[in-house]
Structure formats: C-alpha cells, structure tokens
Symmetry: C2
Subunit: 226 residues, 2 copies
C-alpha cells in the first residue's frame, strides 16, 4: 500500500525519491476529492483533468482505476468515473468498522510497540496539544489523524494498518466538513490524553476502549452535518 504522502511534514529523511508520476497523481487526485475540489457525484473528465494536471489521459486513467479500487471513485461503464458519494449510513458503517479495527489495534499495540515508538507517538501528541493551544485547526487535524495512523502501525500488522488507513482516508473528506465547537474540541483532546496515557502504561484494554469511544463520539459530532 502506498503511503498517504501529504500527511505529516516530511520528518522522514527523503531519499532521492524520483517519485513515479503514478503515485503523485494518485495522491493529488485523492487530495482533490478529500478537499472537495472534486465534488461527490461529479464526473471526472479525462481530457479536462489531464490538461489541468498537465498529464495525458493514460497515466490519469491508471490513477483513477487505482482510486476506484480504494473506493473513492466509482467506475460507470462507457461513462467514465464519478466521485463516490457517501450517505450518512455509509459513513456510519465505515465508522463501525474503523472502530472495530482501532480497538483491535489498541489491544495489539500495547503488546507489540517498542518504547521508542511509543515515545514517538507521545511527541506527535504533544505537538498536537500545542496546535490545540494555538487553535491551529488544520495542523491539529492532521496530527490527530497521524496519531491514529501511528497507533495502527504500532501493531506491526501491515494488513491492519493499511485497512485503518484506507477507512480513515475515506472518512477524511467527511471530517473535513465537520467543525465542532470549542467544548467538543476540548472533549476530543481529553480523549487523546486518555489514549497516550493508556499507551504509555501499555494498558491495551483502556486504550482499546477510549479509541472506540472516541470514534463513536466522532460520529455524534458529524452525523447531523451529512
């Protein structure tokens, strides 16, 4: 599975990385969908999009097929691709599954993670707190996602991490809309405090519980704005 490239500031020491056009296109299109630049239900015109992105139709079509497998776009025979539209039920269904996956991840991570890895999550957490203090919503949001991704990766279970990433990616567009008020934001931060505490104590049961609760609350926060 390819990394969601534009997630965290490039803490990774980037190799010379002549990134293939394919990966770039996939990431670019994914961002355009998540940020609403490509509206749900709208057709993705190959010529037009290709000109806009400065590539020909061939690599663009390949990227679209890739995203179709990811579930972000839908392929309609003889009519090309349309941006997939998610209903409220779809979102709820995805959250239910993501909840199950993150609960599993919480349990596993407390066993499999190294101390260094936990320390790394702690650093991201602290940085996120600073963004909360500074009311830097966008960056807070990205670090928030990063923490969930990191916890899934702490399991050292590639399948679990990729599934979590896939679902989270699909839900990004939704969460991108829902802006909760200060009270709910504070509650979310408090839950994240619980998470890092449980993780550092390697209390899998507690971590699993708070992760699940966090997601259910996330649903409560966004369900009326879909």
């Amino acid at each position: 599975m390819s990394e969601p490239s534009s997630d965290l500031p490039t803490s990774n020491s980037g190799p010379i990385q002549r990134t293939a056009l394919h990966d770039t296109l996939v990431g670019r299109l994914r961002d355009m969908i998540i940020e609403g630049e490509l509206a749900p239900g709208s057709r993705m015109h190959e010529s037009q999009l290709g000109e806009q992105l400065g590539v020909s139709r061939t690599p663009l079509r390949e990227a679209i097929k890739y995203l179709a497998s990811e579930g972000l776009v839908e392929l309609v025979p003889s009519r090309g691709a349309v941006v997939k539209r998610f209903t409220g039920k779809d979102v709820h269904d995805m959250i239910i599954v993501l909840k199950s996956l993150e609960e599993l991840a919480g349990n596993l991570a407390c066993v499999t993670a190294t101390d260094q890895e936990i320390a790394r999550v702690r650093r991201i957490h602290d940085e996120m707190l600073q963004c909360y203090e500074a009311k830097d919503r966008l960056r807070y949001y990205k670090l928030n996602q990063a923490i969930h991704t990191e916890i899934s990766q702490l399991t050292h279970n590639e399948a679990l991490a990729s599934m979590q990433a896939l679902l989270q990616s699909r839900l990004k567009r939704i969460r991108f809309i829902g802006h909760e008020g200060p009270d709910k934001w504070a509650a979310a931060v408090a839950e994240h405090e619980e998470m890092i505490t449980a993780l550092e104590a390697r209390d899998g049961k507690a971590l699993s519980e708070v992760l699940g609760r966090h997601l259910l609350k996330a649903w409560e926060r966004v369900k009326d704005s879909i």
Copy 2:
C-alpha cells in the same frame, strides 16, 4: 487454460462481453494470481501477458494498477509490477484482522439480516454439505468462502463486506494450498454447522465466537505449509 472460476454463480465461459473489459481483466488476473498461475515474486510482463490474454497493454496496465491498490501486486518504479509475496507473518496478520471483522459481522448479521437472507445462507450451507459428502473439494471450498462472504453481506454494511471480501481474496491463494486431512475437514464442517445454527437462532454472540474460532483453526491448519 483455467476457467474464469471467479465466483460460484457464474460457470459460464462465454465471452459475451457484457461486462466491461476492465472488470473481466481484473477478475482474470486475480484468478491467475490466486491459482498460482502467476507465481509470487514474478514480474508481470505487460506485452507477454497482454498477448496471452488478447488485449493491448493499456487496459492491462489499468487492471494491474487496480490490483495494486487491492494489495495483490506490487508496483516497482520503472520495473513494472510483481506478484506480491506473503510471508507467514503477513498471513497471520491478515487472519487476525479478518477474525476481528468476521466477529463484528457475526454480531451485526444476527440483528440486520432478514429471514429470507438467512434462508439463503442455509441453502448454500446445505449445498456445501452435499459437496462434503461427495468429497467435491473444489466446490466445497468455493461454497465455504461464499458463506463467509454472505454472512458479511447480511450486515448490510458495505464497508464491512468489502473489507472482508478484500482480505478473503488475499487469503484465497494461501488456502488454495492448504489441503487438510479428513479429520480436520470434518471439524471445519462441524464449525460451519455451529455457524448456521447460531445464525438461524440469531444468536450473535455464538455466531461471532464460532466465526473467530473457525479462523484461528484455519490458521493452525495452514501455518506450517507456508
């Protein structure tokens, strides 16, 4: 040359071409990988494969990108695609995740399924039993998979069903190898009996438990042959 053999309902071999070529190609390549016709780690030569399948490189490449997103093949920059090779740990990891998903499905299905849907699973189950009696391993195997897929679909949770299908698809190739002896086969059939009983009683807890147990045993059966 192997039959399409993608799923159970269609044993047709007619190239009626009602479905788009893309879908056909994806299914065809997936089968070739699952059945080992394309060995793990081997490169997928575009010209050669295209000639073999009677299509040009363009739609073939699109299908390969799709499968890459599914995780069945790996894209190496400037070197094309290779069939993904799974280690024993990979398989175990996938089974752990699949177990979690099927347990969730078992719980939900008992609430959301209609009586007709449950009856449908019962019919597949009975047919599978006949294949067991007749020692028709291949068909038994396909119906077995179909039951797990059906149970996931009974949840009416698209995200859950698709994730389950994705993981099961990746594991197909593995299970394709592991041929258990008569005793273990009988045990597996007994577990399936438990499943259908729990489902018809709408006992989510019991269904969930037996589904999880079934998968752990499946791991026990194949773990030494990887």
